[in-house]
């Protein structure tokens, strides 16, 4: 079960079983963005409160779906809360880098799961718990599950002032 343990790390299952920042925020003032994965029906709703200083003062997650989409959303909510919008965008980029499939890596997918050639995100950005999701890259159909919350967040952010 080495492959599975790589995917379903304990921290991921913890976020799935005990999702952080679950709920809704009143809109307005909060922003609301919805994301769907048409393939599997996963659904994420992100509520975002951004204060006058451009800082995410609160975030809530609603929706339903598989362990990867829901835990990713939970981790994302914990990671972005209290961050400036620029920091959130940097996190988003770093997470997307983590989720990038390298073809050479897929070709070597038969191995033992040691994953030495994992794409390396910007070292300046600390992904925290989110780094546990790197095992998803080995399961290409699940990448969309992991990135759903982030794509939904991006939609929400686009409605705010664009990044300088």
């Amino acid at each position: 079960m080495s492959g599975l343990e790589d995917l379903y790390r304990e921290i991921i299952l913890d976020h799935y079983r005990n999702p952080r920042n679950r709920g809704e925020l009143a809109c307005p003032p909060a922003r609301r963005a919805e994301g769907f994965n048409p393939l599997c029906g996963d659904e994420i709703v992100v509520y975002l409160d951004v204060d006058a200083q451009g800082r995410v003062s609160d975030v809530k997650i609603a929706g339903q779906g598989c362990s990867i989409s829901q835990s990713s959303a939970s981790m994302m909510s914990a990671a972005v809360k209290g961050r400036t919008l620029d920091e959130v965008r940097a996190l988003n980029r770093a997470f997307k880098a983590l989720m990038t499939i390298h073809e050479s890596r897929l070709e070597h997918d038969e191995g033992d799961g040691s994953g030495t050639d994992t794409p390396v995100p910007d070292p300046a950005v600390d992904l925290g718990d989110l780094a546990a999701l790197q095992g998803v890259v080995r399961f290409p159909v699940r990448i969309k599950c992991a990135t759903l919350a982030w794509n939904t967040l991006t939609t929400g952010l686009e409605e705010l002032a664009p990044s300088a």
Binding site: L4, L13, R17, C40, S67, R142, C145
Partner: protein, 423 residues
């Protein structure tokens, strides 16, 4: 209804097929990546026996040319193989005439052909089209598109909580209907629908009956006349044949009266700068170079199925369905919720289920680790899943090469799933 019992004489038995011998004819079961392959996704696509693979390779190696075009011997041979395949399909579904068998790309194209060619010629604003709540998107979206273009009224036969068609308001729903389009067997619930009963009522109402038999023809003996269909669509790749070929059977008089669907070579008798005359049946509906090798492969698949016997295939699958329902229920009780009828005689070998509160994506992922292939998702039947109140299900489906050991592997892997996700 009893007259339409799918298997007349053969009892539902698990020893009716020699599954080990059948599996030996399918090269893919030699594949072993860490674990032997447990293939439980035949409702999505079946595996292919050696006979089909060799027939297609043999065709390309020995007699390929374009059909209905060349005067040389090679082209004659290719044409003959293609038309023999049509005749084999006709016999397999008891078509009154080979002229009624139209080759398409898949069942989806066959259903689109009906909706667009027949629909646009015969439907006008306010006309009624009756569908069911359990249709695959392939028998739903083309009609939604026609509704959008022509302005027809869509009505739906709902389903009961046990997953049967709700026929309590059948006559009222059919009143004024011009088309009734329904699946013979649900790809999610496994429900075998009372097609003949609906067809008789539809004909009384003056409607044409379109049957999506994609899940039916591969698994049960099929007689298009006994079903009461005017059109019947199915696909090759779910019945041991190749991808890229489907079939539309239509009643000759209805096909004759219809305009063509796609235009191009082969489907015409004459073309002028100011018009065209369509070809005769069935070529009128086969524009362009058809899937020739695929037709040859489909004929080989039919030969395999005929050799085993569709009665035996049905008896085996019904027994395996009964075994699975019993075994999973005994092992997991209310932790595993099966959608659709509980009686094996009422359903085909398709088992959609929810397992505890583990998401189907996660179930399928854990099963894959044990080499088990199942489908997870909405199975191209979103309105039905909404009706069931779920966003996705896990679906295991079987065929003539599956047996109790596959069900046992499924149950064991579900235990592993439980260990991982449930505290």
């Amino acid at each position: 209804m009893a007259a339409m019992s799918p298997v007349a004489d053969l009892p539902s038995r698990l020893d009716v097929l020699d599954v080990a011998a059948i599996r030996a004819e399918f090269p893919i079961f030699e594949r072993c990546r860490r674990r032997p392959l447990v293939y439980l996704d035949s409702a999505a696509s079946s595996q292919k026996p050696r006979a089909v693979i060799q027939a297609m390779a043999g065709y390309y190696e020995s007699c390929h040319a374009n059909v209905h075009r060349g005067v040389y011997a090679l082209a004659e041979e290719a044409t003959s193989r293609y038309e023999q395949a049509r005749a084999a399909v006709g016999r397999f579904i008891h078509a009154p005439s080979t002229r009624e068998v139209v080759f398409t790309k898949n069942a989806t194209e066959a259903l689109n052909l009906v909706a667009f060619a027949w629909g646009r010629a015969n439907l006008g604003r306010g006309d009624v089209v009756v569908l069911t709540e359990m249709e695959h998107h392939a028998n739903l979206v083309p009609w939604l598109m026609v509704a959008e273009q022509v302005g027809v009224e869509l009505r739906y036969l709902g389903i009961t909580d046990e997953g049967h068609l709700d026929l309590s308001r059948l006559e009222a729903t059919l009143e004024g209907a011009k088309v009734v389009a329904l699946t013979a067997m649900s790809n999610v619930l496994g429900t075998l629908n009372p097609v003949r009963r609906v067809a008789d009522a539809a004909h009384d109402a003056g409607a044409v009956v379109v049957v999506d038999a994609s899940q039916y023809v591969p698994h049960l003996p099929t007689d298009v006349t006994a079903l009461g269909a005017d059109f019947l669509a199915f696909t090759g790749h779910k019945m041991l044949g190749p991808t890229g070929i489907g079939v539309l059977w239509g009643r000759e008089a209805v096909l004759e009266a219809m305009p063509p669907f796609l235009g191009g070579g082969e489907m015409i008798r004459d073309v002028r700068l100011d018009g065209y005359t369509p070809n005769e049946l069935p070529w009128k509906f086969e524009a362009g170079t058809p899937p020739i090798a695929e037709a040859v492969g489909l004929a080989a698949a039919i030969e395999v199925l005929d050799g085993i016997g569709m009665d035996a295939v049905r008896a085996h699958e019904m027994a395996l369905t009964g075994y699975a329902l019993g075994a999973l229920d005994a092992r997991f009780g209310s932790d595993l919720v099966v959608h659709g009828p509980r009686t094996p005689g009422d359903r085909g070998g398709v088992l959609s289920f929810g397992f505890k509160d583990v998401h189907p994506h996660d179930v399928a992922q854990v099963l894959d680790e044990s080499g088990i292939c199942v489908r997870a998702g909405h199975h191209c039947a979103k309105p039905l899943l909404r009706r069931l109140g779920v966003s996705a299900t896990t679906r295991a489906s079987w065929y003539l090469y599956n047996d109790e050991s596959d069900v046992e592997a499924l149950a064991q892997a579900l235990d592993a799933c439980s260990d991982l996700f449930c505290l």
